[in-house]
Symmetry: C2
DNA sequence: CCCCAAATGTTGTAATTACAACATACTTTC
DNA sequence: GAAAGTATGTTGTAATTACAACATTTGGGG
């Protein structure tokens, strides 16, 4: 198991190596590898596992009965997922979790939290609070990215966020075209088309998943 | 200040009357009334206040520069909001908070958390964790309600959720038409129109904000 | 009971998107 | 470096939505 990634995670912030090893044991940590496209959880499942990405990445998505996918979030190396369901173990999952690429996941049993001593548990809970709070902001972000009614507005909303996060007008995005379309809740072909128009209009430049924002001020029309 | 609502809140679960009174003092609890439509927070603001609705309700919304509103969440009596921003006090708010009706809000300073003794703080943090976790599920819910591409699909997704929550095919929703439209990210007139069609098609019955689902199985086309 | 204001419903047209089908580019494997 | 497979770009048409304008209903105050 790749301990180093876990050591730098938010969950174990403030814990030393010995404590982390003991915690991993206490929480029944297990690791499993998945191939791109494999399903890790399906909607309706119940779990008490807090999941951690040690390699690769997964998408949190909703797939309706007509095959439409909506990507709610992309969880990359060093990040957690299913924390909500792990902490509210009565609630069946509303989402699917799917390997966005070959990846490796560590599962931690939150049921076992109760067995820890108070001090350790308090420190863990404080860290969990940070995780859920940040996840909240991520979920809110997507709402802003899908709020504009037009495709161009959604693209710009998303690209602006990434640009601010990376402190640069030039950056890579973690999505391919189909994933970005599913994240922004638009048709892939319409997305491709709009990206072309935006390049012709001199708003952006892009090649594959590398983007450059030429003009910041986006005006509708 | 209306103590009884706070006593039954998730935040103070497990605390007795004396402890709650002390905590309210320690967290500099203040109460303020707002009229319908009044702004409580604007996007860009920074706050360390955890907010609690003692009466009425507020909307968490995004208003873009062209006057388009998107309602992310409706927070009613007995519920909390801005917990993410209170706990991550560096992060400027992405949303506006607006009084959906005449309401009364209690503000709790999270900066003051640090001054509490370890035991009390640990218990509070555990309760905060429940609040943020539930908020996460609410935010996810909205994503499912706005995931369908067609208006009818969005309406059914939303009504189904409410129906499940209330354990009944007949229920009131907390939104008026404009609010529901802004929550589902569609035009108000299109929403009204679609509701009419759905009644003609025998899917639902509704009058004002009272709804009845006639047929559960919704098939596209 | 009437008037007013707000909320909701209806309709038509312009604009946008969905969808399918196809074209091109890029990767990987042998 | 061909072949096959995947990802991305382009285009046209049908369907849907946005928007504006107007009609109707509802719920108070006078």
């Amino acid at each position: 198991m790749d301990i180093s990634v876990l050591h730098n995670s938010i969950l174990f912030k403030g814990f030393d190596d010995t404590e982390i090893s003991e915690l991993l044991k206490a929480l029944n940590a297990t690791e499993k590898k998945y191939n791109k496209g494999e399903m890790i959880f399906s909607s309706g499942e119940i779990t008490d596992k807090l999941c951690f990405v040690t390699a690769g990445g997964v998408t949190i998505e909703s797939n309706d009965m007509w095959g439409n996918r909506t990507i709610l979030n992309l969880v990359g190396k060093g990040q957690f997922f299913t924390e909500s369901y792990a902490l509210l173990p009565d609630v069946p999952m509303l989402v699917d979790v799917c390997a966005a690429e070959d990846c490796s996941i560590v599962f931690l049993s939150m049921k076992s939290l109760a067995d820890l001593n108070d001090t350790i548990r308090a420190r863990l809970l404080a860290n969990l609070l940070t995780i859920t709070t940040r996840k909240n902001l991520h979920l809110s972000s997507r709402s802003f990215h899908t709020a504009p009614r037009q495709v161009r507005g959604r693209i710009m909303a998303y690209l602006n966020t990434v640009s601010v996060q990376k402190h640069s007008r030039e950056f890579d995005i973690p999505f391919d075209r189909q994933q970005l379309a599913d994240y922004l809740n638009v048709e892939r072909s319409v997305l491709s088309n709009e990206l072309s128009k935006m390049q012709r209009d001199g708003l952006i430049r892009c090649r594959k998943n590398h983007f450059e924002i030429i003009t910041v001020t986006y005006l509708p029309g």
